[in-house]
C-alpha cells in the first residue's frame, strides 16, 4: 500500500507539480529582479527594516518545528501514533528549514557576500561577535538543517533498501546508491537502533533551542514589544502550534490522494488536533502574559506599543491572529469537529494564517511604533516581497509533492515493527 503510493502518478499530480514549479520559478525570478535592481524594490524602509522576508523566515522555522517534535519527542516517549505521520512530518521539517534559510539571504540584498555571516576572520581580521544573536542564529539554523535532514535520511535507510530490492533498472540503481547498501543484518540493526535513539535525543533539545535562538534575535534588542523574557517559550509554543497545523494541512490531502487512509487514520489526525488545543491555549496564555507584563512593568513605551498593536494601524491583523490561533483550535474541543476532515483541514489553514500574522504583528508591529513618535511609520509589502513569498510556498509544496512520489511517505519498517508488536504474523505476505 505504502510502496503503491510511489506508482507512476496521474495527470492531476503532474498538473500540481507543474503549477508549483511555475510558482517557484516566478518567485526565483522576482528575487533575481531584486538582486539586479536593488533592495529598493522591496517595501522595507525606515522605520520597518525587517519586513515580510523575516516574517517568512520565522514562519518557516516555526513550521519546521513539529516535524522533529512529532518524530523525535514522540519516538522517545514511544508514542505509537507517530509512526504513520513521522516521515511526512520530518520531510516537512527539512523543506521548511531549507526555505527558512533562504530568507535571510533574500533579506541581505547583496547575497553574493552571504559568507560574511559565517564565523571566520574577515579581511579586517575581525572575528564574528559571539555575543550577537545573529551568530547564534547562524549556528542554530545550520545545526538544525544538518541534524533534521540527516535524521530524516537515516530514518529512511531500511525503506530505501526495501525499494531497491523491489525495483529494477535505473530505479534500482538510484535507490541502491541512496540505501548505502543496507541489508538489515543483526549487526546493522544493533548499531542503527542505538544511533537512531541518540539522534532523537539530540534532536529534541535542538528543537527547543532553535526557536529560542530565533526569538532572541528579537528579545535581545531593546525594541518595545520584543525585549521580553517570555519570548523563548512563547516562540517555541507558537512554532509547535503552527507546525502541527501544517502537518494537518499536508496530511489530509496526502492520505486521500495516495490512498493512505488505513495507515494515517482519523484517530491519528484527532491526536494532532487534541495537541493543537493545548498548544493553542499556551499561545493564548502567552498573548495574555505579554500584555500583563507590558502593563505591570510600568514602562510607558512597552504598554503603548501593546495598545497600538490591538487598536492601531495593524489592529485587523492583530485580531485575525488572536481569533485564528486561540479561538480556532478551541473548536477541536468538540469531537464532531475534530473527527471531521473538512473541519480539521479548514481549522489547520486558519491556524496557518493566524501564525503568519503573529509573526507579522511581532516584527512589523513593533518596528513601526518604537520610542520616538517622529520615527513612527507603517509598512506594506511590495509586489516583489509578496511574489517571493508566493514562490516560497510553491517551493515547499513542490518539494513535498516530489517527496510523496519518490520515497515512502510512511515509514514501512516502523509499520512492520508496529504490526509485529501487535499482531505478529501480519507482516508476512503483505503488500507494502
Amino acid at each position: 500500500m505504502i510502496l503503491g503510493a510511489l506508482s507512476p502518478p496521474g495527470k492531476r499530480y503532474w498538473g500540481a507539480v507543474i503549477l508549483c514549479l511555475f510558482g517557484l520559478l516566478y518567485g526565483a525570478s522576482c528575487w533575481a529582479y531584486q538582486i539586479l535592481t536593488g533592495m529598493g524594490v522591496a517595501g522595507i524602509n525606515h522605520p520597518v527594516n525587517w519586513g515580510i522576508y523575516l516574517v517568512n523566515f520565522v514562519f518557516w522555522v516555526g513550521i519546521a518545528h513539529s516535524g522533529t517534535l512529532i518524530s523525535a519527542i514522540l519516538y522517545l516517549l514511544r508514542a505509537q501514533w507517530r509512526t504513520s505521520i513521522a516521515r511526512a512530518a520530518e520531510a516537512m521539517t527539512v523543506f521548511a528549514v531549507m526555505i527558512a534559510g533562504l530568507f535571510p539571504f533574500i533579506h541581505l540584498g547583496r547575497v553574493w557576500i552571504f559568507y560574511w555571516i559565517i564565523p571566520y576572520p574577515n579581511q579586517r581580521d575581525l572575528w564574528p561577535n559571539f555575543q550577537s544573536p545573529l551568530v547564534f542564529d547562524f549556528l542554530a539554523i545550520s545545526t538544525y538543517l544538518t541534524v533534521s535532514s540527516m535524521f530524516w535520511y537515516m530514518g529512511m535507510l531500511p525503506d530505501l533498501a526495501a525499494l531497491r530490492d523491489q525495483s529494477t533498472g535505473l530505479r534500482r540503481r538510484i535507490y541502491g546508491i541512496f540505501s548505502l547498501g543496507w541489508q538489515g543484518t543483526h549487526v546493522q540493526w544493533r548499531h542503527y537502533g542505538t544511533a537512531y535513539l541518540l539522534f532523537a535525543a539530540f534532536a529534541t533539545p535542538l528543537v527547543i533551542s532553535v526557536h529560542s535562538v530565533v526569538s532572541w534575535d528579537f528579545a535581545l534588542s531593546i525594541v518595545p514589544g520584543w525585549h521580553s523574557t517570555i519570548f523563548a517559550p512563547y516562540f517555541v509554543a507558537g512554532a509547535i502550534h503552527s507546525g502541527l497545523a501544517m502537518v494537518l494541512t499536508l496530511l489530509i490531502p496526502m492520505r486521500g490522494l495516495l490512498g493512505l487512509q488505513p495507515l494515517i487514520s482519523l484517530a491519528t489526525l484527532e491526536s494532532v488536533a487534541k495537541t493543537m488545543i493545548l498548544t493553542g491555549l499556551i499561545v493564548g496564555y502567552s498573548y495574555g502574559v505579554e500584555y500583563f507584563m507590558a502593563w505591570y512593568s510600568g514602562n510607558m513605551f512597552e504598554w503603548d506599543t501593546f495598545i497600538w498593536r490591538a487598536f492601531g494601524h495593524y489592529a485587523p491583523q492583530f485580531w485575525v491572529m488572536v481569533v485564528c490561533n486561540v479561538a480556532g483550535p478551541l473548536l477541536f474541543l468538540f469531537k464532531a469537529i475534530r473527527t471531521n476532515l473538512l473541519w480539521l483541514f479548514a481549522i489547520a489553514i486558519i491556524v496557518n494564517i493566524g501564525m503568519w500574522y503573529e509573526r507579522f504583528i511581532i516584527i512589523v508591529g513593533s518596528m513601526s511604533h518604537e520610542y520616538v513618535p517622529h520615527a513612527w511609520g507603517v509598512y506594506s509589502p511590495s509586489w516583489v516581497e509578496l511574489s517571493i513569498m508566493l514562490g516560497s510556498f510553491s517551493m515547499f509544496l513542490f518539494l513535498f509533492l516530489l517527496f510523496c512520489k519518490f520515497v515512502p511517505p510512511v515509514s514501512v519498517f516502523e509499520m512492520k515493527e508496529h504490526l509485529w508488536t501487535h499482531g505478529k504474523d501480519e507482516i508476512r505476505g503483505r503488500e507494502w
Binding site: 540527516m150 547498501g181 538489515g184 544511533a195 512492520k416
Partner: protein
Amino acid sequence: MVREKLLGIFTSMEDLTEAIGLIQKKGAKVRTVYSPIDCREILEKVGIKKTSPVRFATLMGGLAGLSLGIGFAIYTFLEWKFVTSGKPTPPAVPLVVVGFEMTILFGFLSTLLCMLFLCGLPRLKESQGYDPRFSKDRFGLLLECDGAQREEIRISLEEAGAEEVRFLGS
C-alpha cells in the same frame, strides 16, 4: 575440518529464534541474521549486547563540540575584545549558546559516522547469502558449521520451520 555455510529463510520470527537456539546447541556458528525489522530478541538469541558502542562516539563527539564551541568563542573574544558595559569578560551567556549548538552538531555527526562505520556502510556489493526478500517480509539465518554436520543442521533448520535452506559452499 571444512566449514560450510548454510542459509535458512524463515517466514516468522518465532521460527527463526527457535532455529538459532537449535543450531547453536549443535555447535553451528551464527554468522548473520537478516531481518526486515529491528528485533532485539535476535540479538539476545545470538548473544550480542543490545546496546551499541556508538554511544561512546556520541559522548566523545559531544564533548569535543562543547570544548570547540566554547574554546572558539573565548579565543575570538580575546582576539577582538568587544566589551559591553557591565558584562563580565569573556561573557558567559553567549558561550552557553555556542557550546550547546556545537555539542549537538558534533555529537550528532560523530554518532552518524560511527554508526555508518560499525554497520559497514556504504557497502558496494551484496554480501553472500543476502536475499531481496529480507527487506520485505522474510528472515534469514546465515550460519557456519562443520561439513560433516551439514545435513543434520539442514534438517534442524527445516524442523524449526525454515521455508527454504540453501548451501552456500565453504
